[in-house]
Symmetry: D3
Subunit: 122 residues, 6 copies
């Protein structure tokens, strides 16, 4: 039987693969306002979903980058682009994912994502 | 110098990998209303973007499925899930992509995508 | 000093230009559930905004069709396409507006809008 | 130390308040495709978030109805309207929440939500 | 028979409950560009909808906060969080509303809302 | 038979009508990251869609402004408001388009668009 501590441990394992042992987004205003929120996110996003079998972490990372670009979530996009580079996904592959966003979410979504990415991928 | 016929040829090559030689969505009302639109889409979506180097078609397919799920575009999602299966992506991998959508676009987006997928992936 | 009855009268004048004297969407389930909502909509959408000077009704109609297509609001899109035809905007112009939606909201938004439009514009 | 079974138990307690002991949405195609997804949802949506202190279940229900209406998630909206009625929120209060959606997400979002609600609230 | 001045008076009454007699957002660039827009908003948002019976102002405020968080409208979210505090809703309740947004609009929407809220709720 | 160079030439013709011979958004970070993306956009957005017959450029410009306002794409909105002024659309007409956005995408979308527009339309 897995307990919440296990969810947290499992989630932290994924987080460490993406961003090293330093927790991501450490200085967000949201973290001072609602510190327990980020523990819950580690448990359910990374401990429940990302750590499931049947899909490799590389594919999970590409799909996350694609979704964040389509949804215009630029802060998380930057964090996950950095994570994708840490997993060995190349800068060129990531630029292609962002460019292709133009087809499904429109050109402004792709430009917005590429602008955000320039900080991380230069 | 590449001409528009080349864009169309290149685009049709990608379309054939995804859905065979039968054009996808052949009976949409939109195709009777604006038949030239779908020629343009083949040229720019598949001829300009999907046929670019630097990212394999398998990754493009996963990212497209992920984006369509996040954006709630269920008709295109069904078509691209079928295309993904044709590329050799497994049913189990696709279900994981759709489940993980809950983290980035919310639970209702994931449920909606999984409901649409049930037709294609059962 | 204009009173609410005036807002309603002014709004109904615009509604009549778009859809004749028969109120639009007369049989929606929403109208049985919240009949007063539609009186408020006539007052503020058509009485406050559409009846303002500085922009002709034809341009307001085109912009509304464009926004409803981009936002994926197919029921209202159908109603406003019918209204646009009543104002003398052509079928061909409306198809162009919907096709161009692919650039700003993505191809699936345009296909979705063209599918909805096929009922009204055939 | 709380374990996952506890999350599930806590989540099911909230689910029972909203919809009785019969699990909601029992016959969705998504549930045949990805049955484990709904266990995860019970754990994190209802076990992690809804069962937290500091906000009463009635307010959580109203806020959920408001968000689902704004986001156009009509299937979940219907389920949560039924849940809200079970909590003692009145039909009249719920109609007001949906009408007010017009201000923040636009009139088509409100009409869409009211149409979906007519099935549940008549 | 109620006239537009009455709508404005009624609307201003709600505005005063939320933000005192100082009009909210007094220095927005939009207000210099389109000053009459804000008079219309006071009339229809606050005079037509918020001042209706059947739902208390506290519940309207919570639902508005929830919708603005889900839709990513951070400027209005900040204004309505301040308004909610003025109505007596607690900081802790508001943080719960924003955290729960993760379930229905995704984790990035919740983080974004909590980041915006940190300015107002610290 | 039209070739890609023709698409580019045709696209640049539309771009010049909107923004003169200086390419729009010349200094975006995205342009340093993915310079070829903007060539593709000129080809398909302006060469394939905007240069089609059946709808005049003025109407295309108004519809684009309307969609960008509804979708919250403020960077592109500013660029297209400047383009619209160059085509002879008046400041007053553009303000009306943005105000009316409140009806279909909600008041916060309209305020957001008017705030962005204040830079360009003052």
């Amino acid at each position: 039987m897995t307990n919440e501590t296990d969810l947290l441990t499992r989630g932290r394992g994924v987080v460490a693969k993406l961003w090293g042992t330093r927790a991501a987004g450490q200085e967000l205003p949201a973290q001072r306002l609602a510190p327990e929120f980020f523990g819950l996110v580690t448990q359910f996003v990374f401990g429940m979903f990302w750590s499931r079998p049947n899909l490799d972490v590389r594919s999970r990372s590409l799909c996350t980058v694609a979704q964040l670009a389509a949804l215009g979530r630029t802060d998380e996009l930057k964090a996950h682009l950095a994570g994708a580079l840490n997993l060995g996904i190349t800068r060129e592959e990531l630029i292609e994912v962002l460019m292709q966003t133009a087809c499904y979410a429109g050109v402004p979504a792709a430009v917005n994502a590429l602008n955000a990415a320039a900080d991380v991928l230069r």
